[in-house]
């Protein structure tokens, strides 16, 4: 996929369901120069944007820079945002494009800088089951598993990593991903299938 195609955040997408009703109002206020309104928009989506970039780069510092730059670029281009799509989808596209361009330049120079696992990880039923029951290497700890998982993710191409990140980690639907990646849902599904196959192969030692 050409990253330049994603660079144009002009696709007409209806607002996502469950979106706050007054997002358009906040965007209009931000467009009129109200910095408090833009601050509110950043606060709404900062965690999701950061998380996506982080899972793509596996580097906290890069994710920090790229997420900030994505919001700055979105502000610069705010007047070109017509409101046909949700602001969330629009800013997501900007962040994804920035990240893909960054990864293309950084290729073969990946350096992992992983965030710590939160306290809940040890109690996550899926992870508990994975480690205690089905993992052949039962002595593995969560940190090691985290390291191997991120290394495997970095072996995927950018678009395949993006699909896995958005669907399997962030929980976005195929439709939402297709809007962000500017492709049809069939392409999203096929990329997701291929990416999972690749990951399964890389992580076979840690899976049943």
């Amino acid at each position: 996929m050409n990253a330049d195609v994603l660079e144009k955040p002009t696709v007409s997408v209806p607002p996502a369901s469950g979106e706050p009703e007054d997002e358009r109002t906040v965007v209009k206020r931000a467009k009129s120069g109200d910095m408090a309104a833009y601050d509110e928009l950043v606060r709404r989506y900062e965690e999701r944007i950061y998380a996506t970039v982080y899972h793509m780069t596996a580097n906290h510092e890069d994710a920090n820079d790229l997420a900030q730059e994505a919001f700055i670029k979105a502000y610069q281009a705010l007047n070109s945002f017509k409101g046909d799509s949700s602001f969330f989808t629009w800013v997501y596209r900007i962040a994804v494009n920035k990240t893909i361009n960054f990864l293309k330049q950084r290729r073969n120079k990946a350096h992992l800088s992983l965030n710590d696992l939160d306290f809940n990880a040890e109690h996550d039923p899926d992870l508990v089951a994975l480690i205690s029951d089905k993992t052949p290497r039962r002595d593995v700890n969560l940190s090691e598993l985290q390291q191997k998982l991120n290394e495997a993710m970095q072996k995927l191409s950018e678009v395949h990593r993006l699909v896995v990140t958005l669907h399997d980690i962030q929980g976005l639907s195929h439709e939402e991903i297709s809007k962000i990646m500017d492709c049809n849902t069939g392409t999203v599904r096929s990329r997701l299938f291929y990416a999972r196959q690749q990951l399964q192969a890389y992580l076979s030692d840690y899976l049943k």
Partner: protein, 166 residues
């Protein structure tokens, strides 16, 4: 191509681990502040006029828009009514007709006193130009500076002043 969930159940569980990777505590407390600070530092802040700022506000508040429209319509109606009542009053009573809007009265003629013939003779004019007629002359009358002419034109003569001896 089938990607049924059970095919990747183990992988799905493993990927759940990624959701637990979190930035340092408090990381998002100042994230937006940093973004805004960078926007301001790079001089990207959009400035808008009060008019541009007003429109989003109006757009956001339909009640305010309606009230604004009603005020405008009300002012128009009041203005129209006032102008019609003025016209009616003017036609009904000529006294009330606005004097300041009526025709300007013709200027009254000022009766000019004819110039005394002796004075006219003195200044050497024979016509009857009024004082409103500007006198344009490039030179002053010669008799003003000739003592001999004074004698011939009137009863003018030299006067001796005798200074009494002390």
């Amino acid at each position: 191509m089938n990607s049924s969930p059970e095919d990747f159940e183990g992988l799905r569980r493993l990927l759940a681990l990624k959701r637990h990777e979190q930035p340092p505590p408090g990381y998002f407390d100042h994230f937006s502040d940093k973004v805004i600070a960078r926007i301001e530092a790079e001089g990207l802040v959009m400035r808008s006029s009060w008019w541009q700022r007003l429109f989003p506000e109006l757009d956001a508040r339909p009640v305010l828009v309606s009230a604004y429209g009603l005020v405008i319509v009300g002012l128009l109606v009041v203005g129209l009514g006032a102008s019609q009542s003025l016209e009616t009053a003017e036609s009904a009573s000529p006294v009330l007709a606005s004097p300041w809007l009526g025709p300007t009265p013709a200027p009254t003629e000022v009766a000019l006193t004819p110039i005394d013939p002796s004075a006219r003779q003195m200044i050497g004019q024979s016509d009857s130009r009024s004082s409103f007629t500007p006198v344009v002359s490039s030179t002053a009358p010669s008799f003003l500076f000739d003592v001999n002419q004074w004698k011939t034109r009137g009863n003018l003569g030299l006067t001796d002043y005798a200074v009494p001896a002390p």
